[in-house]
């Protein structure tokens, strides 16, 4: 993964002194914290900032900054429900006008990204500022395969990273997210991820996507796909189920943003070995057919059979097939066709098959971003399928 250590090469344009911005720093190592504080003092007027962190901050090194202690949360690779609750409570207590939440590894976030995130929610009329990271083609694959296409097709949002770990929030957005988060913390799901885009779209709040450049993305402490994918996908499917009445209505997708990160459509930096992923898919095909047949219609099973017999070089999963598979799994999650843990476990080999296909397509010359856009477009095209099946799940489905 490409890393970028931002150098303060841009002349700072401090925000107005009378605006108070609460900056919530999630759990991160001390050297990262100091680097983030340096970037913040470079980007903003010190008197407009209120820094909140659970760790003991080096207050002596930054005498102009105001600090406030935040309740300790468990270190996580993403923003959790507990972080959103803390952010709103601290902002309300200190009369902040906006909140900037920075996740682990925020020291690699560019100065302009920090400023733009804050500006968007302080004076530009946006309620949610969300960064668009510039990641290597083979990074953030779960986001490209599942989170972005589903969020775009169902919630009509072009935000590229729905599960971004740095956010700018207006007070009403922070309040709304805190309300959702409190319900999760109330049932001991402090570490559950939240879906700010879905909340903002459902509430009719303004969203602004900010080009954030490259950033070091924190990885889960146990980078085990079998553990993390069910958590993330389960949370997303549950949110989709909860907002079914909202997304079933047809909505116009906003026009595509002219992103400065168009260079993301670059060729891959290295060709990855897809053999382990294909082996995982083939093993699953021979063993999990009985479970897949409970979830997927015969047409999708036929598509998987074709994939099973395809050579590694020619391995391509059609975008429409992947879209339908995901929609069928969302539907099975809602209908509880099988145990939800089993269902999400059975999705993992199919996701690996998509990943192998994605890498093959990139190796053939198509850019990662083009393929991800094609996948998202397929999800949009297949939206009537999930709406129809959601409303009439017992209808004949070949």
């Amino acid at each position: 993964m490409a890393t970028a250590n931002p150098v303060p090469d841009v002349t700072p344009t401090p925000v107005e002194a009378d605006t108070c911005l609460l900056v919530l720093l999630t759990a991160m190592p001390m050297e990262q914290l100091e680097s983030v504080l340096t970037n913040l003092t470079t980007s903003f007027a010190a008197e407009s900032l209120l820094i909140a962190a659970a760790e003991a901050l080096p207050k002596d090194s930054y005498p102009h900054l105001q600090f406030v202690s935040a309740p300790a949360t468990r270190p996580s690779w993403t923003l959790t429900a507990a972080d959103f609750v803390n952010a709103h409570q601290l902002a309300q207590k200190n009369n902040a006008r906006a909140v900037l939440m920075l996740g682990p590894g925020a020291d690699s976030l560019g100065l302009s990204a920090l400023r733009d995130l804050a500006h968007a929610v302080q004076g530009n009329g946006s309620d949610l500022a969300i960064p668009c990271y510039d990641l290597p083609p083979q990074a953030g694959l779960l986001n490209s395969a599942l989170l972005y296409p589903l969020s775009r097709a169902l919630f009509a949002s072009r935000v590229r990273f729905p599960l971004a770990i740095d956010l700018g929030l207006s007070m009403r957005m922070a309040e709304r997210l805190s309300g959702v988060a409190q319900r999760l913390t109330g049932i001991n799901q402090d570490d559950a991820p939240l879906w700010p885009i879905h909340e903002a779209v459902a509430a009719g709040y303004a969203i602004q996507e900010i080009d954030a450049g490259s950033r070091v993305m924190p990885q889960p402490s146990a980078p085990d796909l079998n553990t993390i994918l069910p958590v993330v996908a389960g949370s997303l499917f549950a949110d989709i189920e909860a907002k079914a009445a909202f997304w079933q209505r047809a909505r116009q997708l906003p026009t595509a943003r002219i992103a400065a990160a168009a260079e993301r459509a670059a060729l891959p930096d290295a060709s990855a070995d897809i053999a382990p992923m294909l082996q995982a898919f083939q093993l699953a095909y021979t063993n999990l057919q009985g479970i897949w047949s409970l979830v997927l219609p015969p047409n999708a099973l036929l598509g998987l059979k074709r994939l099973y017999t395809t050579d590694a070089e020619a391995f391509r999963m059609p975008e429409s097939l992947w879209a339908r598979i995901v929609y069928d799994f969302v539907l099975a999650y809602r209908l509880r066709t099988i145990n939800r843990g089993h269902l999400l476990g059975a999705l993992i080999p199919l996701y690996l098959a998509w990943t192998a296909s994605h890498i093959n397509i990139m190796a053939a010359g198509m850019s990662s971003e083009q393929h991800v856009e094609a996948v998202a477009a397929a999800f949009e095209a297949e939206k009537p399928y999930i709406v129809s099946r959601w409303r009439w799940p017992d209808r004949f489905n070949p």
């Binding site: 319900r183 799901q189 990885q219 549950a238 949110d239 930096d269 290295a270 382990p276 699953a284 999990l288």
Partner: protein, 267 residues
């Protein structure tokens, strides 16, 4: 002389017929008496337990009606206080969420609770009347109650076996174990054998034979699984150890495939 003696000693045909008739009539009378007595005993037993049977059906019917009324009241009351919406807001994405709405679930639970209560009260009334009228042994009744327990055991065992088999299958496939199906089948049969043994023990069938057979079967399956996993996962263990060595820096050489797969980031 001999002929004359034979003639004297031989009974006449009419005498023989009369004796036979008398014997048959006696047997018939005995059989008839026995049948009458048996019929009398059964009928008197039925008459004595009839109030118990009636009490059983009356208790069941009354509590079913009470359950229906309670269910309807609960359904209406919970709908008025918007119970479903409150539960949906508070439940998050828990895995145990029910298929039906919480209101319907509460209503159903209350209805079936009442039916179960009626069943228990009815059975206890029947049991009381049976005990007082137990002049004849009815071995079928206790056996019937044991059969219900055994059937419930079998159903629960079957559900648990299917759940565990599916969990093991998916977990093993995602861990890329080639013998995933075999492992899953082994777990399924372990639970099924255990369930069958428990059901037979509950029915008091077989006695020590069942215990012995269960021990042999269970031990056999565990040994087979242990051997299969032990022999089959040698490569897995060695791969795991190698990757551990790689992580701790003791192993300096890295394969091309490993470095390539590291360049893929799912998150």
């Amino acid at each position: 002389m001999q002929n004359a003696l034979a003639t004297i000693l031989q009974p006449t045909a009419s005498q023989a017929a009369q004796t036979l008739y008398t014997d048959n009539a006696t047997i018939w009378n005995h059989m008839s008496d026995a049948l009458h007595q048996s019929l009398y005993r059964v009928l008197s037993m039925l008459i004595s337990i009839l109030p118990g049977i009636l009490a059983f059906f009356v208790a069941l019917a009354v509590f079913t009606v009470i359950g229906m009324v309670l269910s309807a009241v609960l359904r209406r009351g919970l709908s008025m206080v918007k119970f479903d919406e409150r539960m949906t807001r508070n439940r998050g994405n828990a895995d145990w969420t029910p298929l039906t709405s919480p209101t319907a679930l509460v209503a159903r639970v209350s209805f079936w609770g009442c039916v179960l209560l009626g069943l228990i009260i009815g059975v206890s009334a029947f049991d009381a009347s049976y005990a007082t009228a137990a002049t004849l042994p009815i071995s079928l009744l206790p056996y019937l109650t044991h059969s219900v327990g055994a059937i419930l055991l079998l159903i629960a065992g079957n559900l648990i076996a299917r759940f565990l088999a599916r969990s093991v299958l998916i977990g093993a496939v995602n861990a890329q174990l080639q013998y995933a199906r075999f492992l899953s089948l082994g777990v399924k049969w372990l639970v099924l054998v255990l369930t069958a043994a428990m059901a037979l023990d509950h029915l008091e069938i077989g006695g020590r034979v069942v215990e012995l057979a269960f021990g042999i079967l269970f031990g056999g399956i565990v040994l087979t699984l242990a051997l299969a996993v032990g022999l089959g996962s040698r490569e897995l263990v060695s791969r795991s150890l190698e990757s551990h060595v790689d992580r701790t820096g003791e192993h300096s050489t890295e394969t091309t495939a490993a470095s390539a797969s590291e360049s893929i980031r799912h998150f």
